[in-house]
């Protein structure tokens, strides 16, 4: 199976460890992973801020880069939701504006082949025990676009529950937004920060050392808040936990 890793621009630039963890994990599970070097950004920030027309060339670019792979895997619920939920909408809107169905046709093959990491593991590979070892108390925050956009359901939980040594602590108000919201974090900084603080306080109440999520953008916001509050907790991407083994444990 020839699988492309769509790492996303944020992970590529700021969180290369997450990318390395996905490669390590998938390779361990016998998947042949490729990283198409021409990949850039899905255009979500553009689209969600109101620049739909600026997002279109990026969607075209995405389809050019990833068209020939059997599956496209991304460790980001948010970017996964952009491709799966919003790319079809981009195509429809272009058609409604009288610009033909070129974009819709270009996107049609890549949309259904794009999987968020936990979907790929559970639905395509059919595994929940990925042979991971992570001896820490962890609480899990299901990010909004993964939870409500992609409908990841209990897939991440099932994966975490199968990790050896891991103690999963229930996060109160788990389904509530952490307050990141892309440009929202800057445009409505006060509300965003208040939401972030509440999320961190809820996480701290679990007594966990680690807050885990499957989206580094949210983790950047939550982690930045933890750091500012001097909280003892750390944000860790789910992929890094799943990649961790007894031979090569992650921190």
């Amino acid at each position: 199976m020839r699988v492309a890793l769509f790492l996303t621009c944020v992970n590529d630039t700021l969180y290369p460890d997450t990318g390395r963890a996905v490669v390590k994990l998938l390779t361990r599970l016998g998947v042949d992973v490729d990283f198409p070097m021409d990949q850039t950004c899905c255009g979500q920030a553009h689209y969600n801020t109101g620049y739909r027309h600026e997002a279109e060339p990026l969607a075209w670019h995405f389809s050019d880069v990833f068209r020939d792979y059997e599956a496209i895997v991304t460790p980001s619920g948010s970017c996964g939701a952009m491709v799966r939920e919003l790319y079809p909408r981009l195509g429809e809107r272009a058609r409604a504006e009288g610009r033909g169905d070129g974009l819709a046709r270009a996107l049609a093959p890549v949309v259904p082949k794009t999987y968020e990491l936990t979907e790929f593991l559970v639905d395509v590979l059919g595994v929940t025990d990925v042979g991971a070892y992570y001896p820490h108390r962890v609480t899990y925050h299901p990010t909004c676009h993964g939870l409500r956009g992609l409908g990841l359901g209990d897939r991440p939980r099932r994966l975490l529950e199968a990790v050896k040594g891991l103690e999963l602590a229930e996060l109160p108000g788990a389904a509530e937004c952490c307050g990141f919201g892309g440009t929202f974090a800057v445009k409505n900084a006060a509300v965003s920060a208040a939401m972030g603080v509440d999320k961190v306080r809820d996480a701290e109440s679990t007594g966990a050392e680690v807050l885990c999520a499957a989206d580094n953008s949210c983790l950047m916001h939550i982690g930045g808040t933890m750091s500012r509050l001097g909280s003892g907790m750390r944000p860790v991407h789910l992929a890094e936990i799943l990649a961790s083994t007894e031979e090569e444990p992650a921190l």
């Binding site: 590529d12 630039t13 700021l14 290369p16 739909r52 920060a193």
Partner: protein, 492 residues
């Protein structure tokens, strides 16, 4: 927050103030979390909730698609039942019609059932200017009116007040408007309710004119429906000689049977009750019973303009249950007043900029008053995809584009103040369309990483005021990949 919404600051400033108010945040957090949990339970009881939601969506969409036809049918049915129908294109016209109708009765006082539409057009203010006093009779509306305040929630307009504050308002203000509160008024709910009951009873028995809105209007029969919890609305609807109902045109449903769906979904979504305590229905006038004269004022006020927008029109499906407010993390922190409209929360963020246009500062900022978390869409009983409409309206704000205002097609210019953002978005798009440029930028960031601060100056301060920036890694992923081909060439 007294007086009018006109000239509201943009949402971020208003919200920043609210976030700093611990009493407000406490009141809101407590209220929204309580109702949130109850609603989830009430909805969970119905095995066919998903089907009901879909049915509600379809009925509303179908009605909106043929609204012209159903409104004509409604006018015929209401007229046949002895009512009179008036058409109001905007707030000014609606206020003029109602003022003249009240004047014609020779009265200078009216009692009111809680109504969003009359709040929207600021009818009370217009009546006051004509020397007519309008008394709100819904308990929460009464608190808002006596407190010279503004509603901050669709269902519970005084949600931002706690019991102590309400006691003070009653004690100080009731005398101004009629029967004063008892000397020894405490802040227990029973005492507060009794004070309001005595105060309002005098009004009900004296009033000759009642003013209401409606939750639904049935085109087939000309029947109007009000659902409420206190019974005060029923008093306003039945005791006066003249009843004037001001209703947005989107409240139409085709047939009596359609109510079956909404009378299940509305109470469960709003008050988390299986059925609301009072459902009043009236059809024109009836001999020897209820008001002698019935007037229906059909309000447009931006609704047909909204209808012309293929993405945004779904906002008109709203049945004002307020479920979206109660789950919204932004509403919970910012409070209802920050939205600068009688429609706060997620629905307000998409309705106000459509009804009023995106011309003012507050209306241009509302589409951004959301983290797009999607909780509102999930609970909405008529499946309004609020995040979709928010993003659509953001596009209107930053890029301009075609819209309909007052029935005319217009080409909107982008709102002011987004030039720098637009330039940044274009630059980012250019870089992302050229992988080489992205890579050069990443390498530059990595090479200068020791110079990066954890807080930012300028516009970035909004981020780093409350959060630390992540450290830039020594090597972006793509460089590692190229060096090692995913670890196959050794170095991991």
């Amino acid at each position: 927050m007294s007086g009018t919404f006109v000239g509201m600051p943009a949402f971020p400033e208003a919200a920043r103030e609210a976030v700093r108010n611990p009493t407000l945040r406490g009141n809101l957090r407590h209220a929204t979390h309580t109702i949130r949990a109850k609603r989830a339970r009430a909805v969970g009881e119905l095995a066919d909730w998903a089907e009901l939601r879909e049915a509600g969506r379809r009925i509303k969409d179908h009605t909106l698609r043929h609204l012209d036809r159903y409104l004509e049918q409604l006018e015929e049915s209401v007229t046949a039942a002895g009512g009179t129908v008036h058409w109001a294109a905007d707030a000014a016209e609606a206020n003029r019609i109602v003022t003249e109708l009240v004047r014609a009765t020779g009265e200078s006082e009216v009692v009111k059932v809680k109504s969003m539409a009359t709040q929207e057009i600021e009818l009370n203010e217009a009546l006051a200017a004509a020397g007519i006093r309008a008394y709100e009779t819904d308990l929460a509306e009464l608190i808002v009116q006596l407190g010279k305040d503004r509603p901050s929630h669709i269902l519970v307009p005084a949600i931002h007040r706690n019991r102590g504050e309400i006691r003070d308002i009653f004690a100080h203000e009731m005398g101004e408007w009629g029967r004063p509160a008892p000397e020894d008024l405490t802040d227990t709910p029973a005492d507060l309710a009794e004070a309001a009951r005595l105060h309002l009873r005098e009004k009900f028995l004296r009033a000759k004119v009642g003013i209401s809105g409606a939750n639904f209007m049935v085109a087939e029969t000309g029947t109007l429906v009000v659902v409420e919890s206190e019974g005060n609305g029923r008093m306003c609807l039945t005791l006066p000689e003249t009843l004037i109902s001001v209703v947005g045109i989107e409240k139409t449903v085709p047939t009596w049977r359609d109510l079956e769906v909404f009378l299940q979904t509305l109470p469960r979504s709003s008050t988390a009750e299986r059925m609301n305590p009072y459902t009043s229905m009236w059809t024109g006038t009836t001999d020897e019973d209820g008001p002698r004269a019935f007037h229906l004022v059909l309000l447009d006020n931006g609704r047909t303009d909204t209808l012309a927008d293929t993405v945004g029109r779904q906002a008109l499906r709203c049945i004002r249950c307020s479920a979206c407010l109660n789950v919204c993390p932004v509403y919970e922190r910012a409070g209802g007043h920050a939205y600068g409209s009688v429609y706060p929360g997620p629905i307000g963020a998409i309705l106000s900029p459509q009804l009023r246009g995106t011309g003012s500062e507050i209306d241009a900022s509302l589409p951004y008053a959301s983290s797009l978390c999607g909780a509102c869409y999930e609970v909405c009983p008529v499946a309004i995809d609020i995040p979709e409409v928010l993003v659509h309206l953001r596009e209107r704000v930053v890029e301009g584009g075609p819209a309909v205002r007052r029935g005319n097609k217009v080409l909107l210019k982008p709102a002011k103040g987004h030039a720098a953002e637009r330039a940044a978005m274009r630059a980012a798009r250019w870089a992302f369309a050229h992988p080489g440029a992205l890579r050069a930028g990443q390498r530059l960031a990595s090479r200068t990483r020791r110079l990066h601060p954890r807080t930012l100056p300028g516009p970035g301060r909004a981020w780093s005021g409350a959060r630390d920036l992540p450290a830039v890694p020594p090597e972006p992923f793509r460089d590692w990949w190229q060096r090692t081909r995913g670890g196959k060439d050794g170095d991991r």
